[in-house]
């Protein structure tokens, strides 16, 4: 019985392509004029969601304009799916001292 459970557990852990939960490792929180986490590393094909918890509007603007959000008021969100590997620097076009980075592997 124990061996059976252990084997099941191991099988479960080695299953590839488990979808990440929403609100978990694919989320960037915007608050206090910062992107948190400032650097987020995700696998190719991940949809990243930014949510603004600050009390002023912010944007998510890729440095090369590859992804550009509208201005996000408090509690508004923006999502983008990263389909190629690489480093994506971005910033808030309203408060440009706010910068972040999505590393796609």
């Amino acid at each position: 019985m124990k061996m059976c459970s252990l084997l099941s557990l191991m099988a479960f852990l080695t299953l590839p392509g488990l979808p990440a939960e929403a609100g978990g490792t694919n989320q960037v929180t915007i608050d206090n004029f910062s992107f948190t986490p400032q650097t987020l590393t995700v696998p190719v094909g991940t949809k990243v969601t930014w949510i603004n918890k600050d009390d002023v509007p912010h944007t998510v603007t890729g440095d090369d304009k590859h992804f550009v959000s509208r201005a996000l008021d408090t509690d508004q969100q923006f999502s983008f799916t990263f389909t190629t590997s690489g480093t994506n620097n971005y910033y808030c076009s309203v408060h440009p001292m706010m910068t972040g980075r999505i590393i796609v592997r």
Partner: protein
Amino acid sequence: METDNDRIECDIENDGVDRRGFLKCMAWAGTGMLWTMTGGVLASKILSPMTAAAAESPVGDFTFVQISDSHIGFAKEPNKDVIATLKQAIAKINALPAAPDFILHTGDLSHLSAPEEFDTLDQLLKSTRTGKIFYVPGEHDVLNDSGKQFRERYGKGSKGDGWYSFDHHGVHFIGLVNVMNLKPGGLGFLGPAQLDWLKDDVAPLSDSTPIVVFAHVPLWTIYPQWGWGTDDSGQALAMLKRFGSVTVLNGHIHQVQQKVEGNVSFHTALSTAFPQPQPGTAPSPGPMKNVPAGKLGSLLGVTRVNFVQGQKSLAIVDSTLAGS
């Protein structure tokens, strides 16, 4: 430094314009911030013997008002009613003994660049007792459309992203836009096209022409960690170095900060919507939330600027909504 200082009415020391006398005047006006200076800053009522002749023709003197950061559409702590506080500011302007010739709004008219926010602001400002109102955009006014709506509403006759100049009683006013095309990790930004325009704009002016520059983000570096500065303002200021009197009026930081450097006086205005913390005193420059009940008015306000013919510096008087 100044050889032609005027005496301020309330300078009981009788030793010329000095910090103490100025502060006394400012206490009367309800100003909250120290003004440190090296040149003469003068109240509009008093003229020195050297300019007594000018007193005979006061037609050259005038007053205007700067308001800033009305953020129509904002409704969070510490101010759930920015319309009410703007109305108080307008009442304060309308209570001035003489109507100001015009008003400069140094940006962040709206909070989210929404059409209804601009409409509301326009409606409210209609009741202001003044001549014209001039505007420059803040970063909150150019969201999503690179400022197209702002320019349509407030930028008639402006160039490029909305810069322009005008003359009033011999003073040259320059409205600059430093909230467009902001670079990642950068501060405010004027850009080469605007700088080229500025160079041509001031070229025909004599060095004795008083200059007033107004723009949203401070044109000097106050606190770069919070974006309080303009990356290429040095180039603009270099073009203005030859002028004997330059006044720079900004907003954006929702508090009064001032500096004098040679012939240039820098000043930022209070907001009519919400205060922001002083540099480094909070984790971020967002709205100050812990404002005790009844204290909000003392952290908001308007600025009155007096120009007196023949005087080098303009007299800048900040008044809060709480004061007289």
